[in-house]
């Protein structure tokens, strides 16, 4: 809960500064149990902070509240294409990759800013490696300043509280405590994004919440308690600037690769620890409306 609260406060501060300063905070979490309710509060069902439109909750009114105030953007209509990609690759293989003839990984750090051509080159090089995996990716187009969300998820329901009563008849034939309340956790790809562009400038301010999560399995809690889900999740929450058309690259070495669980696969962990590197690509491009108009006219002429 403390973590969730601190994140909420941080988000509030980010919005208050309104991209006024360079403040980058990123968070990568691997192997997080669903029982950590702060995860659910961060990105779970209905869990987006109010600052991002909040209120994606309720079954009938899903996504209802947060998008109520629709306002036109700047006088010059502007919209932005954004993309986020989560990937992982064997650390050893990443060391061999070269971009534009230069090593991608240098003694100081990796390349962090790529042009569109360099991005394509990096993706091409990564895809040539057998260990490369795209964990998830999402792109979305939105009017500048408007909150947006794209998600491709599995809604997993699990028992959250138990009644004090033991029940005897059941599939297992053993006495169990009765599960009397259930929670839902969305796992998959989730991208929540708000941009802030100054008309006439090619710099895009972005507030990004990106999550890739997966159900790794169900944990036997014993003592008649219902199994609990074990979720893996990589989250990134950041506030950054990017030039039009460019791609930011962030890397990190998780304890284990995405898809591996510390809780379910304890024997294998020492061998694989640190062997994978996470590579995160975030791109943005301002879409010129005039181009779209010309294209439409050309299409009609053709």
């Amino acid at each position: 809960m403390k973590r969730a609260e601190s994140i909420f406060i941080a988000l509030g501060l980010l919005l208050l500064t309104s991209f006024g300063g360079v403040l980058i905070s990123s968070l990568i979490v691997a192997g997080t149990s669903a029982q950590d309710d702060s995860e659910t509060e961060e990105f779970g069902e209905g869990g987006f902070p109010d600052e991002f439109g909040g209120g994606f909750e309720g079954e009938s009114g899903r996504f209802g509240d947060g998008f109520g105030t629709f306002t036109l953007g700047p006088s010059e209509p502007q919209q932005v294409w954004c993309e986020a990609i989560y990937t992982q690759i064997d650390t050893a293989e990443l060391d061999d990759i070269r971009i534009g003839g230069e090593p991608f990984v240098t003694p100081v750090s990796e390349r962090t800013l790529l042009t569109p051509v360099e991005k394509l080159e990096l993706l091409h090089e990564l895809k040539l490696r057998s260990s490369f995996e795209i964990i998830g990716a999402a792109s979305v187009v939105s009017i500048d300043g408007q909150c947006q969300l794209v998600q491709m998820v599995e809604e997993i329901r699990y028992p959250y509280t138990h009644d004090g009563a033991l029940v005897s008849n059941g599939a297992s034939g053993r006495p169990h405590y009765l599960a009397d309340d259930f929670e839902c956790r969305d796992t998959g790809i989730r991208l929540n994004w708000t941009t802030n562009c100054e008309p006439g400038h090619d710099v895009i301010g972005m507030l990004v919440l990106f999550e890739a999560s997966r159900l790794a399995g169900w944990l036997d809690m014993g003592s008649g308690i219902a199994d609990q889900p074990l979720m893996l999740s990589w989250n990134e929450m950041t506030d950054l600037y990017i030039r039009d058309g460019m791609t930011l690259v962030m890397t990190g070495i998780p304890l284990t690769g995405f898809g591996r669980s510390l809780a379910l696969d304890t024997d294998q962990i020492p061998e694989s620890m640190g062997s994978k590197t996470a590579v995160i690509l975030i791109s943005a491009r301002i879409l010129a409306l005039s181009d779209a108009g010309h294209k439409a006219e050309e299409g009609i002429e053709e």
Partner: protein, 290 residues
């Protein structure tokens, strides 16, 4: 076939477990209003002005056709399409907006691939400034609370412990709609052929029921693909949004807990959103008469 099986098994489970499921096709637009729209579609409808106001209506009344397509395809196939010269879909955002012809060409290229699959599509026509909703869904009810009633038997070695069982139906139910859903508010600018779309499409699917409590407390698992965004489109253009799926849409991790993870990102997701300003029917009638 797989989907039919899933739906059949889901329906059978619903009936067996006293869980109600209703297939529904709903269409609500400004041109054909439903009196109980708020009841059916929840509170979110009011947030966009609902069906009451005409404030955003331009001077020249017009209406807009809007369409959304959710597509899944093998990432390898998509990479091949992207690698072509003059590719109609890129990973750098240059082709985020397509003309009508480019959309047709892209769909033709995608459909040539065996892995191409429509997850859901929907289109709707609405007066500018008015919200429209079309949904083709299965309304699935599921229990959220269970009541226990005492059984006659007790545990012999500990007489203080009374065993309970399910003596009646679950205490409370909730409902989730699964299927294809398009909620859109198009607004046409009176100056240009510019359409502003507030759009909330969803494609979702029930993948099964899982016993999560060990005592028959079945809970449904859904897959959902949602986009919530506000975009500008010029008349007759299409917005393309891509992504990569951790698991293919249709595969459930919750229903296959023992299954080791396959290589992730093998499937890619494409969302197409199109809009076109429609001329008034009266004008068309005059043209026909001429």
């Amino acid at each position: 076939m797989k989907r039919i099986k899933l739906i059949s098994s889901a329906l059978a489970l619903m009936l067996a477990g006293s869980v109600g499921g209703i297939m529904a096709w709903n269409l609500v637009t400004a041109t054909g209003r439903a009196q109980d729209a708020d009841d059916v579609f929840g509170e979110g409808f009011d947030d966009f002005g609902g069906f009451g106001g005409q404030e955003n209506e331009p001077e020249e009344p017009c209406q807009v056709w809007c369409e959304v397509m959710f597509i899944q395809i093998d990432t390898a196939d998509l990479d091949e399409i992207m690698a072509r010269d003059g590719a109609l879909i890129t990973s750098t955002g240059e082709k985020a907006i397509l003309t009508a012809q480019e959309k047709s060409e892209l769909l033709r290229l995608l459909k040539q691939r065996q892995s191409f699959e429509f997850i859901g599509t929907a289109s709707v026509i609405s007066v500018s400034g008015q919200q429209a909703l079309v949904q083709m869904v299965e309304e699935i009810r599921y229990p959220t609370e269970y009541d226990a009633v005492p059984l006659e038997e007790t545990v012999p070695q500990d007489e203080d412990v009374v065993l309970y069982g399910y003596g009646g139906p679950p205490g409370m139910f909730d409902e989730r709609e699964a299927g294809t859903r398009l909620n859109v508010t198009p607004t046409v600018s009176s100056k240009e052929d510019l359409i502003t779309l507030v759009i909330l499409p969803e494609a979702s699917r029930l993948v099964g029921w899982r016993n999560v409590g060990g005592m028959g407390e079945d809970q449904p698992t859904f897959l959902a693909w949602n986009v919530v965004t506000t975009i500008y489109l010029r008349d007759a253009t299409t917005c393309v949004m891509t992504g990569a799926l951790t698991n293919p849409f249709g595969e459930s991790a919750a229903m296959n807990p023992g299954k080791p993870p396959d290589k992730m990102g093998k499937k890619s997701a494409i969302t197409l959103v199109s809009a076109r300003i429609l001329g008034l029917p009266a004008n068309r009638a005059e043209e026909d008469a001429e």
